[in-house]
Symmetry: C2
Subunit: 299 residues, 2 copies
Amino acid sequence: MGSLALDTIETQSSRREEVLGGAACYASYAASFFAPVRLVGVVGQDFPAEHEQLLRRREIDLAGLERVPGRTFRWAGRYAADFNQRTTLDTQLNVFETFRPKIPQAYADSEMVFLANIDPVLQLEVLNQVRQPRFVACDTMNFWIGGKRPDLQRVLKRVNMVLLNDEEARQLSGRDNLPAAARIIHEMGPAVVVIKRGDAGALLFSQGEVFAAPAFPLEHVVDPTGAGDSFAGGCMGWLARTGDLSTDGIRNAMVFGTVLASFAVQDFSLDRFRTLDAEAIRSRCADFAKLVRYTPAAY
Amino acid sequence: MGSLALDTIETQSSRREEVLGGAACYASYAASFFAPVRLVGVVGQDFPAEHEQLLRRREIDLAGLERVPGRTFRWAGRYAADFNQRTTLDTQLNVFETFRPKIPQAYADSEMVFLANIDPVLQLEVLNQVRQPRFVACDTMNFWIGGKRPDLQRVLKRVNMVLLNDEEARQLSGRDNLPAAARIIHEMGPAVVVIKRGDAGALLFSQGEVFAAPAFPLEHVVDPTGAGDSFAGGCMGWLARTGDLSTDGIRNAMVFGTVLASFAVQDFSLDRFRTLDAEAIRSRCADFAKLVRYTPAAY
């Protein structure tokens, strides 16, 4: 559950107007390489039919995609040369502003739930509509941490995993140190805390263990939009596929998340995903294993 | 070869005045856990005898430590709450200003040479005094990249490995993207390029391979001064101990560098090193192995 958007993206070398974006699109598409997906979101009447077809061609169930009168959510942003900073140029919530997620009857037995970044009040409404999920993960953002903390804390009490970036982790916990921040966030509810650090990778805190997953180094990054959502989608998709919620299972899920994120940034929008296949994913997983290969030496 | 300093350090919670510091101290002490060390540097007549004794108690040869009239190099700095930014409050080069490194006859056959951050002209003078080193590594800083690029490039042509932080790598290469920066720096000479990213770990680029070594996550960081030099020292010490200059050997060296850096930041100055023993290093290496443990799953 999350946003579907039409994004206008400016990088130092290029620009794309009103391309398919939104957390729910990136996460669903990434997850669809591993497991069937049920999407919940809203678009306006201007949402191009080709985008819907793109999602439908994967095993992405769109029964939960509402199409309502009005315009689709739009976001515009510009990236600095090193891609680690971005400026929001424009946000038009449009139909997203009055969105109240409705879980179709056929989705109510969903075992794995990912609540992408959205008003925590709506994240709670989704949780109230799913019967007995086995594993719930959520994302959030600075806006809700600052403006709707009590609601967000109600969400955190009910999720198994939270994924957030380093700045959000610091804001939420009031701690600068990331392991300390993770500990504070654990105490708010989630047994699994994943802190995303962009091109510095992600840290998993779970059952007293830490796992450091570096980002996959790429010489040519085209557009980092959706990297975090693709990471979350790849991660949740793998967990759904295997059902293995052990720490080692989640480590593997994070690596698949890392790999999907690395593909997402290699082109604008979901364009790299369109031609992505299992063979390319397998090959990059093998490269990831080389990236972290370490055989301890005796000392 | 590098600086010995008296550092005055301010963190958010504490302050230390004129404690032992300097790249040569951190690097030598870290390396001394793995191999005998020969130090080259300069101090003034005010350099406390206890500091010299501290180094002498390890297998650190001080034949190359000059003591000259005048005051020892002093540096003062303040760290921001997250330790990733620091402000230099004061720099007094003192005897370091007119330092011309002289390699004692007994050092001339040294096989492994680490040139810590210092004027590249002096790094070249050192290289001209060692007979046939097997492996030379150097560090540098923004000041020399900007102000003495031709000299620095002469150094780079003669070293096997360069260690520098991400901002320095960007400045030196003119590229924002780190894998691209590493490629450009390779072309300047060093077969091995190590880019240090503070608490985001380090990247090794060597023989077409990349190795990502995360920093060791610590909930309590006291003072990050010397982390990079301890990393370099641990790395070089391990290479000297094993003589294994293969990519896997360098991966292991980087992990020992990471481990030594993680100890360095747990107290001010070299204080954590004073009580450090092989058992604690072994134990943290085992924890590091857990931090990166990843058993690829079939997909």
